[in-house]
């Protein structure tokens, strides 16, 4: 019992340290340059995405290669309803839930036809779904009706949408930054805190789900579908629930992405993006939330760090010439890391513990 109390105490201290670290982090990054704050923000978005995909792939065991579609749904919901494109400017407290809701709906839309598919077949169909969403965004700039000549520009096609509204609280635009008792906080830093808050909420929500009756049913489904059915689990319903909840998180992250960037285009939602998010889940440790967060942080921050640390100038300074283009180096290290993980830690960097 004393041991348990001590563990609890240690946990609280660790959480407090982590909390302080996360609060100071954007200012430390800001001292190096606002670009670093942006990297932090993107990392937080990836953490959310990885958490959402983890529900589908890691917990319920449904391989989804089109996850970025839900991110796109969230981003486009925000962009279309809060930009000069249609001249609609809805507030964030409608848009964020709406984006998440529409993404969840898209999740159900994808989930329904693939209920009976598993493994590779499921992966192929979800991959197709992801591409369909991206191609729709790409081509919905000339939507015509069979009985009329006029076309409607819904998504502005490959040119994307610009001038998207930033997060705005009671008329205060977050991207403008503020001055808090003499402490200047940039717009990106303010975004960081909003993203951090929503990431923490996602972590809490997802981990509570995972450790609930529904979460156990998902894991049972992943481990053995036939046995799960014999235990009276309606696998159809819980599969749909997994797709919907995974998509919900993705949609939320999508809306936040659009509000921060001020610009979205179909290019941001390609297959490679889905693969990246999946790689985060797999690299970190499928089904284990701390592992998934670690995977997301590593994979989203690492390429950026490499980009800065090994750029042309620095390579010239050290080697007298540019050995590898940073972009190539990034992919090289990436692939190498994935292969090493596969060989050395097939369960991921931080898999769920053997004993609970």
């Amino acid at each position: 019992m004393a041991n348990l109390m001590q563990d609890k105490k240690k946990q609280i201290i660790a959480l407090a340290v982590l909390g302080v670290f996360l609060l100071i982090l954007p200012f430390a990054a800001g001292a190096l340059g606002q670009a670093w704050v942006r990297i932090l923000n993107v990392t937080l978005l990836y953490v959310m995405l990885a958490l959402g995909l983890n529900v589908v792939v890691g917990v319920a065991g449904l391989l989804d290669l089109g996850y970025v579609a839900f991110y796109a749904v969230g981003a486009y919901t925000w962009s279309l309803l809060a930009s000069p494109h249609f001249n609609i400017h809805m507030p964030f407290w409608i848009l964020l839930p709406l984006g998440a809701f529409l993404a969840a709906l898209a999740g159900l839309l994808l989930g329904t036809p693939v209920l009976k598919l598993r493994g590779d077949y499921l992966a192929i169909v979800t991959l197709g779904f992801g591409e369909i969403v991206r191609i729709l965004m790409n081509n919905f700039d000339k939507v015509g009706l069979p009985w009329s000549e006029t076309t409607y520009n819904i998504t502005n096609g490959p040119r994307g949408l610009t001038g998207i509204d930033p997060l705005t609280f009671f008329g205060f635009k977050l991207n403008e930054g503020m001055n808090l008792f003499g402490l200047p906080i940039s717009g990106l830093q303010l975004y960081y805190f909003v993203f951090l808050a929503l990431t923490v909420l996602s972590v809490i929500g997802v981990s509570r789900l995972q450790h609930s009756r529904l979460g156990r049913a998902w894991q049972a489904l992943r481990e053995d579908e036939i046995a799960a059915k014999a235990m009276g689990i309606n696998t159809r319903n819980i599969k749909l629930a997994a797709f919907a909840f995974g998509a919900l998180t993705g949609g939320l992250a999508g809306g936040l992405f659009a509000s921060m960037q001020g610009f979205v285009s179909p290019e941001s939602f390609g297959l490679l993006e889905s693969v990246m998010i999946l790689a985060m889940v797999v690299l970190g440790g499928m089904g284990h939330i701390p592992g998934v967060i670690l995977g997301a942080v590593l994979l989203s921050a690492m390429p950026e760090v490499i980009r800065y640390v090994a750029d042309e100038n620095k390579q010239e300074a050290v080697f007298g010439m540019v050995l590898v283009a940073p972009e190539v180096l990034r992919n090289l290290i990436f692939s190498l890391a994935m292969i090493l993980i596969m060989l050395l830690k097939p369960a991921g960097l931080w898999p769920s513990p053997e004993k609970k």
């Binding site: 789900l209 609930s212 009756r213 156990r216 481990e223 014999a230 235990m231 309606n234 053997e354």
Partner: protein, 261 residues
């Protein structure tokens, strides 16, 4: 409340030209241990699969607990009160021993996503009940010490027992054990036998599909024998042991076995 918990009447199942089950009838008394035996390919598993909703019967009907048993999907069977174990163990390997049993409570509980995310009092109460019941069942099968381990780390005999605990967690009226003694050594079989007897004496009817004749003859009160999809005998262990048709089916008679012509 009728004496019989489960009644099958004239059940027939065909796969194309093959009649896998031919007019099979049997009834199982409440709180008894019922054995279903037969040589390989006799139709035991087919019978089991029709009963558990994996296949739909072509003719005949089942009655369970005084109501027609009419399951359209496998997950409805647990709801009705029939739990099963699998011939080739099907545990949730990456989940802990305790969680495996907790999954069994799924069908008797109802907390949803909302309750989980917001930790509503109802959901927390239910979760506490699930955990407590799961611990009781682990105690029952003697696996309390391993509660936190992943179930795939258990020894073979322990995995079999855990499957039984998981099935019992669904509060079944009848538990169907598909070859639980397969691959077990003599000691493990003795432990299993005691467990089966305890389950029946605690009021849960047991349907045992088994190849281990010693176990079946020792533990069952009533036995039905299938061969080539037909029921060839039905009675107490001593009657079955003396039955000419059964002996012929298992050992081969002077004539060709039935069904092969």
């Amino acid at each position: 409340m009728a004496d019989m918990l489960f009644v099958a009447e004239g059940v027939t199942k065909r796969f194309g030209g093959v009649t896998a089950l031919d007019n099979v009838s049997m009834s199982i008394r409440r709180s008894s241990i019922f054995g279903l035996i037969g040589p390989n390919g006799a139709g035991k598993t087919t019978f089991f699969n029709t009963l558990t909703g994996l296949y739909q019967v072509d003719e005949g009907k089942f009655t369970f607990d005084d109501k027609p048993l009419n399951v359209k999907a496998p997950h409805e069977v647990a709801q009705v009160g029939i739990a099963r174990t699998f011939q080739n163990i099907r545990l949730f390997g990456e989940m802990s021993v305790l969680e495996n049993v907790m999954v069994g409570r799924h069908v008797r509980t109802k907390a949803g996503a909302f309750g989980a995310i917001f930790r509503t009092p109802a959901a927390r109460r239910e979760e506490a009940e699930i955990t407590q019941r799961a611990h009781e069942l682990l105690e029952y099968i003697g696996l309390s010490k391993r509660a936190g381990d992943k179930s795939r780390t258990l020894a073979y005999g322990e995995q079999r027992r855990l499957e039984i605990a998981r099935a019992l967690a669904t509060d079944p009226k009848m538990i169907a054990l598909d070859e639980p003694a397969a691959g077990m050594n003599a000691t493990e079989t003795v432990v299993l036998r005691q467990l089966i007897e305890r389950i029946a004496s605690d009021g849960t009817t047991v349907m045992l599909i088994e190849h281990d004749m010693r176990l079946v003859m020792n533990v069952c009160q009533h036995i039905a024998v299938l061969d080539y999809g037909r029921k060839i005998a039905d009675g107490s262990p001593s009657e079955i042991q003396k039955d000419a048709a059964v002996i012929k089916a298992y050992l081969g008679g002077a004539h060709e076995p039935q069904g092969v012509k």
